[in-house]
């Protein structure tokens, strides 16, 4: 059978995305900045290490409970910079707009970009606008790139997780993807679900001030917690044991997951992080996280181990054990 078309699953953040990156991009663009495949690239300069990242946003619907495509475009890029220990400073902003898009909607999206930028203390310093004819794009796509200086004395990478590390999660899983899904499919919940979309740079700063030796930070976006853990397990060549009972998921999110047959561990988040913290600093970092509004529900969900490498093992609610695999295929397209 021929596989000569791009499938939606190639954009899921799961296995097919990884295959595409490896087989298509890494083969041609192999260089020391790209090779680590962290959330941002590190570029050496005479003045220190610069972090550089880019991301495109195609979320549907563009307005959703808890945010819109503009807020997402700022937070996503700020978070990618934050996860390698950079202090985000400047963003670029590119819009691809479909002919006929309401100007009032554009205004409110630009306002929310501004608000999010103020909140994250970053400046939009360059930009571009393209308009394409009706039907050539779906309403509005946004690309942002960002730079920031990496804090001296930190060394965060997906390849730095070590046996013994505690795995901390900053809060409830799945809010973003479920809010998008409910908005798109018209599913109503008893308690309204909101995206967790938020800039994590301030939380990260507090955590790194308390413990500069945190080994790895990641925001579990597309593919969810399960995929992110597997990426880190592979990059660091370690095993992990995760305690399912400890993973916080809201009742409303769980309820819809049960109905639709989804697994909250694979749902995208836009305002959560996981931290791999050396054993002696676990309690300290957890306390700092809980003191921050974006980490108040933080919890220790598991440990890095030298067993099972590079697999992630889930200790299930009833005490059984099973492999927690990467996202395979796709859950839902255009969630970010």
């Amino acid at each position: 059978m021929d596989d000569d078309r791009v499938l939606l699953a190639h954009g899921s953040g799961g296995l097919l995305t990884h295959d595409l990156i490896r087989s298509l991009f890494l083969r041609r663009f192999s260089n020391p900045c790209l090779a680590p495949l962290d959330d941002s690239a590190r570029i050496e300069t005479p003045n220190g290490e610069l972090a550089f990242t880019t991301d495109s946003y195609v979320v549907n619907p563009i307005f959703f409970p808890g945010g819109d495509i503009g807020k997402l475009a700022v937070c996503g890029t700020v978070n990618d910079l934050s996860m390698i220990g950079a202090v985000p400073s400047s963003l670029s902003l590119s819009l691809i707009i479909e002919e006929g898009f309401p100007l009032s909607d554009l205004e409110s999206i630009v306002s929310s970009i501004h608000e999010a930028a103020v909140l994250a203390a970053v400046e939009v310093v360059t930009g571009d606008t393209k308009v394409v004819e009706h039907g050539a794009a779906d309403r509005l796509f946004i690309n942002t790139s960002g730079i920031g200086w990496i804090r001296p004395g930190t060394s965060l990478s997906g390849s730095h997780a070590q046996p013994g590390d505690g795995i901390l999660l900053s809060g409830y899983l799945g809010d973003h993807e479920m809010a998008i899904l409910c908005a798109r499919e018209g599913i109503e919940t008893e308690t309204p679900l909101e995206s967790d979309c938020a800039p994590l740079n301030d939380l990260v700063q507090k955590m790194l001030e308390a413990c500069p030796s945190i080994h790895c930070l990641r925001d579990p976006t597309r593919g969810g917690l399960a995929t992110t853990l597997n990426e880190i397990a592979a990059m660091s060549n370690v095993g992990m044991v995760i305690d399912e009972e400890k993973i916080p998921v809201r009742d409303s999110v769980r309820g819809i997951c049960e109905l639709l047959g989804l697994d909250p561990l694979y749902l995208a988040n836009e305002g959560k992080l996981i931290a791999f913290v050396p054993e002696p600093a676990i309690d300290l970092v957890l306390t700092v996280m809980k003191d921050h509004p974006l980490g108040k529900d933080a919890v220790l969900i598991g440990r890095v181990t030298d067993l099972y490498r590079p697999k992630v093992i889930l200790r299930t609610l009833i005490g059984g054990h099973r492999i927690l695999d990467m996202l395979s295929g796709m859950q839902y397209p255009r969630i970010c």
Partner: protein
């Protein structure tokens, strides 16, 4: 959602496991018929909690998996028609037919839409009156009443452009075929909870009466499954063979006659083709004569004869004769990204569960990791 937590309580699970261990005196092979059971068993690591003499076999209870290539090929041919919108449950998208899959056809421009309810098909049909909207009807007795209601409503609403490619199946005839062939010893059945909510107990009585094996209609939460297994072990050790209900909060002995009757307002029993089993008498449905106009099988399409991958062992996996690692393709060329057979595609497929959750959960536990967060 508190009611779910009660059925996932670790202390109760431990107590049930202890009871099963104490009661199990000899090697026992049990078949969980339903794909939802298979997934739950793997997802909660239940195989690893059971004493070694108990072997769980996965049965033919994944509707996607038992759909033969010929039906998938026909659905693909329908989707290739310019004036057809094909609606389907999401699981069918990635199932490889002989030469393509619905997912690949969609990428090439076919209008294929994933629906959560058969009724969504009516909404689409009303919106696109110039299109023929074909629902790919896959499912067992659980799904058939809602499919029937949707088709009946399409008739009531006068929607002339709603059609059905019927691939629905009935579970009990497949179990009978399995027991008649006896290619593998099955000491007892975990019977499907939701299918039985429609059917009740009667259609399974032949298992106990004719074949002398026990069956327990079981729910899908981990404690349901552990309790169902415990009830089977007890029957086996006591030399009984009866059809019992563990899933009492949902299943009544008489089933749901109203829902069952809806099916027969529009369908009648017919033989059906099953992957791995071939044709099984009375194991499917055909549209009654007065609804023949809705039958998409009558569309004049040229469909090439189906091809089977010569080494794919999905058919035997579905009968519990081999387990996925026995298949030469498993993990070597067949994986969830590039599935060769349907059992690797469906979320309820046995191969996918093996692949995703790893060896059925046996051999993963380690005393050192009992409590990773304490």
């Amino acid at each position: 959602m508190k009611f779910i937590d009660e059925f996932r309580n670790p202390r109760l699970a431990e107590a049930l496991v202890r009871k099963i261990r104490a009661a199990t005196k000899r090697p026992i092979q049990l078949m969980e018929v339903c794909g939802t059971h298979t997934v739950s068993i793997f997802r909660y690591g239940i195989r690893g909690l059971l004493p070694p003499p108990i072997n769980l076999l996965s049965g033919p209870g994944c509707p996607v998996c038992v759909t033969p290539n010929a039906d998938i090929d026909f659905a693909i041919a329908l989707a290739q028609e310019k004036d057809v919108i094909l609606t389907t449950f999401g699981d069918m998208m990635r199932v490889p037919g002989s030469r393509s899959s619905l997912q690949k056809e969609k990428a090439q421009g076919a209008d294929i839409r994933i629906v959560y309810s058969p009724l969504d098909t009516l909404r689409i049909a009303a919106k696109y009156p110039q299109k023929r909207v074909v629902f790919l009807a896959i499912g067992f007795e659980t799904t058939s009443p809602s499919i029937s209601v949707a088709l009946l409503r399409a008739r009531e609403e006068g929607l002339q452009n709603v059609f059905c490619l019927n691939c629905q199946k009935r579970v009990p005839p497949a179990l009978k075929t399995l027991l008649q062939a006896e290619r593998v010893r099955i000491d007892g059945f975990l019977l499907p909870g939701h299918v039985s909510a429609i059917l009740g107990v009667a259609p399974y009585q032949f298992i106990a009466e004719q074949f002398g094996r026990p069956g327990v209609i079981t729910g899908f939460e981990p404690l349901d499954i552990l309790q169902g297994i415990g009830m089977l072990v007890k029957q086996i050790e006591e030399g009984r063979s009866e059809i019992e209900i563990q899933y009492r909060r949902v299943v009544r002995p008489e089933g749901n006659p109203l829902a069952a009757s809806k099916i027969f307002e529009i369908f009648e029993e017919d033989q059906a083709q099953w992957r791995g089993f071939g044709s099984i008498p009375q194991s499917g449905y055909r549209l009654r004569d007065e609804f023949k106009a809705m039958d998409a099988r009558h569309f004049p399409l040229a469909v090439e004869p189906p091809l089977e991958h010569p080494h794919c062992r999905c058919g035997e996996v579905l009968q519990g004769v081999v387990s996925p690692p026995d298949c030469p393709l498993y993990r070597v060329v067949c994986n969830p990204e590039n599935p060769v057979g349907p059992c690797m595609v469906s979320v309820e497929g046995t191969c996918a569960a093996y692949y995703k959750y790893g060896n059925g959960g046996r051999g993963l536990e380690s005393p050192k990791d009992e409590n990773p967060t304490s």
